[in-house]
C-alpha cells in the first residue's frame, strides 16, 4: 500500500515537473511558429538592420528598437552593477551577521515591488528632474537606465552576496596572514574567487533589464528612433510589442511576434551564459 502511494506521489511530482518544461517548450514553439515565417519572408537583414518602423506602410525595421534595448540594458548595468557589487561586498564583508539578516531581505523586497510602481515614480519624479536640469523631454533613455538600474539591484546584490559568502574562510585568512590589508584581501582574493558568481549576477540582471516592459514603456517615451544622446526618447523591443499588440493584425502582428523571437533568442543566450558561469563556481568549490 505504502509503496503504491510512494510511486503515485512520484508520478504526480514528475508530471508537474514536466509541465513546467513543456510550458516553456510550447511557448518557444508558438513564438517561433508565429514569428519565424515573417523573418524569412521579410529577410533577417532588413528586419534587424533597417530603421524604418511604419507598420501602416508595411515597413518593419526594428534596428532602432534593438539599439534602444542594447543601450537601455548597458545603461542599467552602468547604474546597477557597481552599486550592486559594492553593496554586496559591503554587506558580506563589513557588516555584522545580525545587520545582514535584516538588510538582505529588505533589499530582496525591492524585487517584489511591481514594475508599474517603478514606472510611476520614474514618470512623476525622475522625468521632471531630468527635464528641468538636463533638458530634453524627460522621458528618456537616461530615465529608463536609472529606473532599470535600481530594479536589477536585488538580483545583482543577492546572487553576489551568495557567491562572496561561498568563498572559503581559509582564503581570507591566508591572505590576511600574508600581510594583506582587508581591502587588498577583498579585491585581490575574495572578489576574484567569487568572480564567476558575480558575473552571473550581472548577466541575470541584464536578462531582467532587457525583458522589463511596463516601467520602460512609462519612462522611456517610446519614440522610434536611434538615440543620439542619453536625453533622447527611445523604444525598447519589449515596449514595441506591448504598445502595438492590441491593435496589430496581419503582417503587423507577425512582425511583433518576430520581435518576440529576437528578444527570446537574446534572453536565452544571456541566461545560458549565466548558467555556465554559475556552474563553474560550483565546480570550483
Amino acid at each position: 500500500m505504502n509503496v503504491i502511494g510512494e510511486k503515485g506521489v512520484q508520478r504526480i511530482l514528475s508530471v508537474t515537473a514536466f509541465s513546467a518544461i513543456s510550458a516553456l517548450l510550447l511557448i518557444a514553439l508558438f513564438i517561433l511558429n508565429e514569428g519565424l515565417p515573417f523573418i524569412f519572408r521579410y529577410g533577417l537583414h532588413d528586419f534587424l538592420l533597417t530603421s524604418d518602423w511604419e507598420p501602416q506602410a508595411g515597413k518593419f525595421g526594428i534596428f532602432p528598437m534593438v539599439a534602444a534595448s542594447v543601450w537601455v540594458t548597458l545603461g542599467a548595468m552602468v547604474v546597477g552593477a557597481p552599486l550592486g557589487i559594492a553593496g554586496a561586498i559591503f554587506l558580506s564583508e563589513f557588516v555584522p551577521k545580525s545587520v545582514m539578516r535584516v538588510v538582505k531581505p529588505t533589499i530582496e523586497l525591492l524585487a517584489a515591488i511591481p514594475s508599474v510602481v517603478y514606472g510611476f515614480i520614474g514618470v512623476m519624479v525622475l522625468a521632471p528632474l531630468i527635464r528641468t536640469y538636463l533638458g530634453g523631454p524627460g522621458l528618456s533613455l537616461l530615465a529608463a537606465c536609472i529606473i532599470l538600474g535600481i530594479m536589477i539591484l536585488p538580483t545583482v546584490i543577492s546572487i553576489s552576496i551568495d557567491s562572496i559568502q561561498a568563498v572559503p574562510q581559509s582564503y581570507r585568512e591566508g591572505s590576511l596572514a600574508l600581510g594583506a590589508t582587508t581591502w587588498q584581501t577583498i579585491h585581490m582574493v575574495t572578489v576574484r574567487a567569487a568572480k564567476s558568481g558575480i558575473i552571473a549576477s550581472i548577466i541575470l540582471g541584464m536578462g531582467r533589464a532587457i525583458g522589463e516592459t511596463m516601467a520602460v514603456i512609462m519612462v522611456a517615451g517610446n519614440a522610434v528612433k536611434i538615440p543620439h544622446s542619453a536625453l533622447d526618447s527611445v523604444r525598447s523591443l519589449t515596449a514595441n510589442i506591448a504598445l502595438e499588440m492590441s491593435y496589430a493584425t496581419g503582417l503587423h502582428r507577425e512582425a511583433l511576434f518576430a520581435t518576440g523571437v529576437v528578444l527570446f533568442v537574446v534572453i536565452i543566450i544571456l541566461n545560458s551564459v549565466a548558467i555556465v558561469a554559475l556552474r563553474k563556481r560550483v565546480a570550483k568549490k
Binding site: 507598420p55 523631454p137 504598445l243 492590441s246
Partner: protein, 264 residues
C-alpha cells in the same frame, strides 16, 4: 476541514450551474474603440436595467479590433471611431451613434492659444521644432502622439492630412497617458478625446475655433470623428433594439452628459 471544503465547493459549483439555467438570455457583445467603451458600458447598464432578458458585454481592444470582431462574428456589434472606415468594413452596416472632438492640448504653462491647421501639420511632421516659431516661448516642442493603429491617431492624421509623424515624437498608448505627459511637460503638445479634457491641460483653438461642444456640433471645429457601431448584415432583434435605444433621446442624453457629442 477537508469535508467542509468539499461541501462548500460543491455548493459553489451547483450554484454557479444554476445561475446559468433559468430563463434563456439573449447576449450581445460589443468590442472595439476604447474611446467609446465607457459610454457603451453605461448605455448597456441602463438598457439591461429595463430589459432583464438581455445581457450585454462590452470589451475594448481598439477600433481595429471592433472592425475585426464584427466581421468574424466574435462580437455582434463592433465599435470604431474612424473618419474613414477600412475597406474590409464594407460588408458591415455602420450606424453613427455619436461624434467625438479631438482636442489639441498643451501644458497650461504654455502661452500659445491658437494654431492653424498648417502649423499643426508642421509641428507633428517635425518641421516646426520650437515654440517661438508659432508665437510661444523659446523652447523645443515635445510632440506626443498615440501608437500606430490607434483610432484617435488615424482620425487625427486623416483630418489634418499629410502627416508623417516626426521620429522624435513620444508615443503614449492611451488618452490618459497622453494627458499625464502633457500635464507634466511644459513643452509638450498632444491630442486626445474631447470628452477627456480636464484642468491639468489646456485645449487650444485651431484656425481660431475653440474645441467646445457647440462648435463641434455646428461643424466649425474641424477635428471631429464619428463613432460607428458596426453590425454584420442587417441588425435584427435585440441588437437592433439596443442600437435604437442608443439613438433614442434617453441614450443620446447619456452620451451628451458624459462628454461626447450626440449623433443628431
Amino acid at each position: 476541514m477537508h469535508r467542509r471544503m468539499i461541501v462548500l465547493l460543491s455548493i459553489f459549483v451547483i450554484a454557479s450551474l444554476m445561475g446559468g439555467c433559468g430563463k434563456s438570455k439573449t447576449s450581445i457583445t460589443l468590442a472595439g474603440s476604447t474611446a467609446f467603451q465607457p459610454f457603451a458600458e453605461k448605455l448597456a447598464e441602463q438598457y439591461m436595467s429595463t430589459h432583464a432578458n438581455v445581457s450585454i458585454t462590452v470589451q475594448g481592444g481598439g477600433s481595429a479590433v471592433g472592425v475585426q470582431t464584427a466581421i468574424s462574428g466574435a462580437a455582434q456589434i463592433g465599435m470604431a471611431d474612424l473618419v474613414v472606415l477600412p475597406e474590409e468594413a464594407k460588408q458591415l452596416t455602420p450606424t453613427i451613434v455619436a461624434r467625438d472632438g479631438i482636442a489639441l492640448v498643451l501644458n497650461p504653462a504654455n502661452k500659445v492659444i491658437n494654431l492653424t491647421m498648417q502649423q499643426v501639420r508642421e509641428v507633428f511632421n517635425g518641421k516646426i521644432k520650437n515654440w517661438k516659431e508659432v508665437g510661444g516661448a523659446d523652447s523645443p516642442i515635445t510632440v506626443v502622439s498615440r501608437e500606430a493603429g490607434s483610432g484617435t491617431r488615424s482620425s487625427f492624421e486623416q483630418i489634418v492630412t499629410e502627416i508623417s509623424l516626426t521620429k522624435d515624437a513620444l508615443i503614449q498608448d492611451s488618452n490618459g497617458t497622453i494627458r499625464e505627459t502633457v500635464a507634466n511637460d511644459p513643452n509638450a503638445i498632444g491630442y486626445l478625446s474631447h470628452g477627456l479634457l480636464n484642468d491639468k491641460i489646456k485645449a487650444i483653438k485651431i484656425d481660431g475655433q475653440e474645441c467646445t461642444t457647440e462648435l463641434i456640433t455646428t461643424g466649425s471645429y474641424k477635428l471631429v470623428r464619428p463613432i460607428y457601431l458596426l453590425v454584420k448584415g442587417t441588425p435584427l432583434g435585440e441588437v437592433q433594439n439596443f442600437i435604437d435605444y442608443i439613438l433614442s433621446a434617453d441614450g443620446q442624453q447619456t452620451i451628451k452628459a458624459n462628454g461626447l457629442i450626440p449623433a443628431k
